[in-house]
Assembly symmetry: C2
Homo-oligomer: 235 residues x 2
DNA sequence: CACATTAGTTAACATGTGTGCACTGTAAAG
DNA sequence: CTTTACAGTGCACACATGTTAACTAATGTG
């Protein structure tokens, strides 16, 4: 009695087995990436999932993996790249459609949360590998968030009243804001699937924290101002 | 030619093989825990290290593991427990020896960083498993940090001028502060071993961010105050 | 049409894994 | 001193894993 437990794989779902060669190749490549992403939705971390598992989950024999990636590390880096690209794109969109200053913070948090929920799998991956992963992955992710922080800083620089802040101070502030975003992201990610009320609570919490940071910035004496005051005091 | 690559294990180092029975048992138990901790210093995450690896690294045969823990999960939970206990103890000590209000923030950050560096391995473990780990581990860690936040909140409540803040607002603020601490911890942990200048930079960054939060809190209109103003406006 | 390329398959390997079982020597208990 | 408890050992098993090499069949190219 041969027991065949053929899992319904991603490649089976889209039944069209035909198509031009490179198209098909791209399709299974995608299937491998998605399979890895899906496996990480559970308890597993990236370096605890096996090449064979990924291949199995993509509906492909283990050795076929090598036609697409040298090893799991290469797949992992591709995943980071994709995730960060997606994130960057979101930022660009957000910038192109500016919000009314009145509800700026609340709205920004809201759209961000929506984005995270829509791309759960990628964010789950990023969150896990931000520390769990190999040095290469961590570095890539860290570099991505650093860039994120810098972009936010230049955005902040355009605000009225931000003229006196030095570059370092702006970076300091925007890294604080990004911290807040990372924190909600993480909390968001291991909420049970349906809990809508917890989400709005998180949203509220994050918005409040950002408002607090904003208030603090208004009161902050930028280094340039302190220097000026010192100069006056000394005559 | 039998190739024997007997690794210098932790149990070998302390050469005294004798001692009363339960003492010896505790010793190898410790060796197992430390072995796991040590293995996580590298690239590995907790659920990617094997029971056999741990046993090997502790200088003990794999099956001996079962005399101490049912499985790896149980060992993991023990590790979380220990790490959180250590952290809590630090807090208690900090509270018992209060700092001068003038340099409160700077000093607190400094001692905290020192503590993290002194207990690198535990914090590395916590950082990695805060998201990478099994649901059980994550929950334990999350619960621990929640408690940490609450304790900080009650500390903040004792500050002069904190009287108008509601419990929720205090929690919001202290969770923001803990966010900052977590962020530096993570950055601290994957700095190369010697880089002292980067450490002071991090320290400075964190202190500035906390000062900003402090300033923001001073400006913050607690809900109670807003309500009072509303009442006055309405006559 | 004939040929070359190549995405995916099948078979096989050496190695690492978790765990059950019977054992051994020594510390503790009688 | 004899007996018992039990921390640690040795061996065995049934797997799962990464990677190799030779194959198959379909797509692309001349």
């Amino acid at each position: 009695m041969t027991r065949i437990t053929r899992r319904r794989s991603r490649r089976d779902e889209e039944e069209s087995e035909t198509g031009r060669r490179d198209v098909r190749k791209q399709r299974t490549r995608r299937a491998l990436l998605d399979a890895a992403l899906e496996l990480m939705q559970g308890e597993q971390s990236f370096n605890s999932i096996s090449l064979r598992e990924v291949a199995r989950n993509a509906g492909v024999v283990p050795t076929a993996f090598y036609r697409h990636f040298r090893d799991m590390d290469e797949l992992g880096l591709t995943l980071v790249e994709e995730a960060l690209r997606a994130l960057r794109q979101m930022m660009r969109e957000a910038r192109s459609a500016p919000l009314p200053a009145s509800s700026l913070i609340g709205r920004s948090v809201q759209t961000y949360i929506g984005y995270v929920q829509a791309n759960q799998d990628y964010f789950q991956f990023l969150a896990k590998e931000r520390f769990g992963g190999s040095r290469a992955l961590r570095l890539a992710i860290r570099q991505g968030t650093a860039l994120f922080i810098s972009e936010l800083a230049t955005d902040l620089a355009r605000f009225p009243g931000a003229n006196n802040f030095s570059t370092e101070e702006l970076q300091m502030i925007s890294s604080l804001i990004v911290n807040i975003m990372i924190a909600i992201t993480e909390q968001l990610l291991d909420l049970p699937a349906d809990s809508e009320s917890e989400v709005v609570w998180l949203q509220d919490q994050a918005a409040q924290q950002m408002r607090l940071v904003f208030l603090g910035s208004m009161q902050w004496k930028p280094k340039s101002v302190r220097d000026k005051q010192k100069a006056i005091a000394q005559g």
